[in-house]
């Protein structure tokens, strides 16, 4: 439980105003040490990579959609077209300091394999995902009887790319199963603000709209 942490203001970005960036991106960027080498898997249009590069971090990206990739490359980012499910195996061990999977885990075919690959390629992994245990989700299913749709996940069940939803609790359980160490964990509310640090896990699982985890390989003595 000690992994649960409070978000801190991000140094160096105050002048530009952090309101230009998504809450979870700011949080992720804060978890990455300056001067490190980062792979962003599912980097979309490169917003997070731009934030990282602005902080002097050597960022690379993989993105599935051709439009996203071309948008990134035309921003001067080092991004390649690829699929997290099939292409991560082509990366060697320890190629990066951090591998980031931001809001993409739930769209992979094999989340467990992807997670294992993240921690093979990178010394650390940062994973953020929408929490399916969020109270709005639960309410919609319980009361409305419909597959939940929220502001951040507006797609209907038949056209969503998200095929493997999980709750914060589920994710923590998976990390335990595959012997992954949680170095830090943060839950964000619907507006991207972090929940109270000392709140218990059940509270996060209920009121966290998304979870952000900094992971590393568990040590031998575990």
């Amino acid at each position: 439980m000690t992994a649960q942490q409070q978000i801190l203001p991000l140094p160096g970005l105050a002048a530009r105003g952090s309101e230009n960036y998504r809450g979870d991106h700011l949080l992720v960027a804060q978890m990455v040490e300056r001067g490190s080498k980062v792979l962003d898997v599912g980097c979309g249009e490169g917003d997070l990579l731009q934030l990282l590069e602005a902080r002097g971090i050597d960022g690379r990206g993989i993105e599935l959609s051709r439009e996203g990739v071309n948008r990134c490359v035309s921003k001067g980012l080092a991004v390649v077209q690829g699929d997290a499910d099939t292409d991560l195996v082509n990366y060697p061990d320890d190629a990066f300091d951090y591998v980031i999977l931001s809001q993409t885990l739930q769209a992979t075919r094999q989340p467990k394999v992807v997670l294992e690959n993240l921690l093979r390629i990178g010394r650390r992994a940062i994973v953020s995902f929408p929490n399916f245990g969020f109270w709005k989700m639960r309410l919609q299913l319980l009361v409305g009887g419909h597959m939940p749709r929220t502001e951040n996940l507006p797609a209907t069940w038949y056209d969503t790319p998200n095929i493997h939803f999980c709750t914060i609790k589920d994710f923590v359980q998976l990390c335990d199963e595959i012997n992954v160490k949680m170095e830090r964990a943060v839950a964000l509310d619907l507006y991207g603000r972090p929940l109270r640090l000392n709140a218990p896990w059940w509270f996060w699982n209920m009121f966290g709209e998304q979870g952000v985890f900094l992971l590393s390989r568990a040590g031998k003595g575990r």
């Binding site: 490359v73 001067g76 980012l77 390649v80 077209q81 082509n90 190629a95």
Partner: protein, 411 residues
């Protein structure tokens, strides 16, 4: 690889009547030895060490430049040309009188901005536009080289370009750019001289020629050699020219540069200047007429033997084979910034080949961007106005320029 000349592209040509390019023979011979380009001469003391084991000396490299080299010599870009193109990137071609083959890409305010960069393009060794090749005079005999010219490779071409840069006293290239065979040279540059290449832009290419690629080239070579006017490669001495064979080679190759969709969109099954089939082997269909035109215009500007040599060089290209079969080994610890571009409808150098390059570069932790551009225009798309392609070109050079100190971020 060709200009697909979108506007004035075809007229009626019958293959049996592909005109002999006799009128241009003299001009072509002059260009081969005394080109309308800048010339770097390398004497007997500066041989080009060829992969086949022969030291070629003396030899010459014909090249064009655009823009100015800055005092720091940090803004030089080398363009590597494709199989049947040459150094006349952005000026009127001395033989055809047509505009340069990449005028849309090179010039003031264009992605390869001549106000900002010093741009060099050299005719490849083995070519026929002024760099030493089979159409050049062999100084030892006073006769044209013909098939006595040693077989050259892509690494040989790059080695010759490196000697040219030494001559120009340029140590590091800001960028090496090229498509198709030019892209192969780009990759070879990064493998052979990684420290001399700050960034590399490889378009519609591969690290090796596939069996299908070799097969198409063999078809072209056989067409040339089957022409009785080829005369065992000594046609220039016998006053003939294998224009039919070379024309057929060009027709076959040209099909591989396009796509089914592009051909269908342009021509469909439309007839050429007639309503009904003639029940003959005349060019009834527009697509036939177009191909015949491509064949006949090509023979006016290209040497048949040179075509044999350059296609062979591409066939031999295989970077992984030179590194124990492991492509990633070739790029180990490379600092060069890469951008790899492929086109969805390119079946000659399909996206899967580009992806193999990217995987190898990733495995070497190289900084690489890779974009696949959606177009139905096939392999030749890299020579055409594809806005998305231009945008990526511009952005990659800009970000590399920021890293190189040539441009400011946000400029």
């Amino acid at each position: 690889m060709s200009r697909t000349s979108g506007e004035v592209w075809f007229k009626m040509v019958n293959i049996r009547s592909i005109p002999s390019p006799a009128v241009h023979t003299e001009e072509r011979a002059r260009e081969a030895d005394h080109p309308s380009s800048r010339l770097a001469l390398f004497g007997a003391d500066q041989p080009l060490h060829l992969d086949c084991g022969i030291d070629l000396a003396p030899f010459q490299i014909a090249y064009q430049t655009y823009g100015e080299l800055n005092p720091e010599k940090s803004n030089a870009i080398l363009i590597c040309h494709a199989l049947t193109l040459d150094q006349h990137v952005a000026n009127v071609h001395p033989l055809t009188g047509k505009p340069g083959w990449w005028e849309s890409m090179v010039g003031a305010g264009r992605p390869l901005d001549t106000e900002r960069y010093f741009i060099i393009c050299a005719n490849v060794i083995g070519g026929c536009m002024g760099s030493t090749g089979p159409a050049s005079t062999n100084p030892a005999t006073g006769k044209l080289w013909g098939l006595d010219f040693p077989v050259i490779t892509i690494p040989d071409m790059v080695r010759a370009q490196a000697m040219l840069l030494d001559r120009l006293q340029i140590e590091t290239l800001f960028c090496v750019v090229g498509g198709s065979m030019g892209g192969m040279q780009v990759l070879q540059w990064t493998v052979a001289y990684p420290a001399r290449v700050f960034s590399a832009l490889a378009v519609a290419c591969s690290t090796r020629h596939t069996a299908q690629n070799i097969a198409f080239h063999e078809l072209g070579r056989q067409a040339v050699m089957a022409d009785p006017d080829w005369r065992g490669g000594r046609y220039f001495e016998e006053g003939t020219h294998p224009h039919r064979g070379l024309g057929v080679a060009r027709m076959a190759a040209h099909i591989t540069y396009l796509s089914d969709a592009a051909l269908h969109r342009k021509f469909g099954r439309r007839m050429q200047d007639r309503e009904l089939p003639t029940f003959s082997f005349d060019a009834d269909f527009q697509v036939e007429s177009y191909l015949r035109y491509q064949g006949s215009s090509f023979v006016e500007r290209f040497d048949a033997n040179s075509y044999l040599y350059l296609t062979r060089a591409m066939d031999y290209f295989d970077i992984a084979a030179d590194h124990d079969g492991v492509l990633a080994e070739a790029f180990r610890d490379i600092k060069t910034r890469f951008c790899v571009v492929s086109f969805t409808s390119d079946w000659l150098f399909p996206t899967s080949e580009a992806r193999a390059i990217v995987h190898a570069l990733n495995a070497s932790s190289a900084r690489v961007s890779f974009a696949e551009i959606e177009t139905d225009r096939g392999h030749d798309a890299f020579l055409l106005d594809v806005p998305e392609f231009f945008e990526i070109f511009r952005a990659f050079l800009h970000s590399a320029g920021v890293a190189r100190g040539l441009a400011k971020a946000g400029e």
